[in-house]
Symmetry: C2
Amino acid sequence: MKVKSRIWIEHNDQIFLGLGRVRLLEQILLDGSINKAAKSLKMSYKKAWKLVDSMNEVSEKPLVKTSSGGKGGGGTLVTSFGKQMISHFRELETKSFEFFDAQSKQLNDWK
Amino acid sequence: MKVKSRIWIEHNDQIFLGLGRVRLLEQILLDGSINKAAKSLKMSYKKAWKLVDSMNEVSEKPLVKTSSGGKGGGGTLVTSFGKQMISHFRELETKSFEFFDAQSKQLNDWK
């Protein structure tokens, strides 16, 4: 038997960050653009922008900043707060995997 | 910020027990009948029977036993294995709430 889980973070009772949103942030970090990140993840542009807007709205501080024009033609940055949230989510995920692995062992010992 | 989670138990990579199934088992224990339990939970009979069949199939030992006729006209029993699984699931749930509460605190301390 194996204990499985899905985790997410809420802020003021609204979904703030889950695996899908974190994967998107990570991809924006890699691609420097929401549109490119959406393409990499085979997600529609519309969905990607909606997720980014929703995250920024729920968050106390923006996770992602877009700039248009200028040198390099603009693009999208993950803020330092956004980067910290990615780290915290991934750390939380690792800890919860460890926790549930231990719980699975207990369940199998009992059985 | 609050860390939220949904947990379930798999057995041989198949869903074995989640909150919905455990609620159904608990209600069968209270009502002594799958049909009555389905009614109490406002669930269709078909869905309730399907869930019970699925649980018994995935499980090494039956969780629920139905008998027809005899003194009292038959009914449905949760086996002692089934009762232990209810306890284990609820215990797991409590432990994971505690775990994620602690994680939420860490997240808010950091913020």
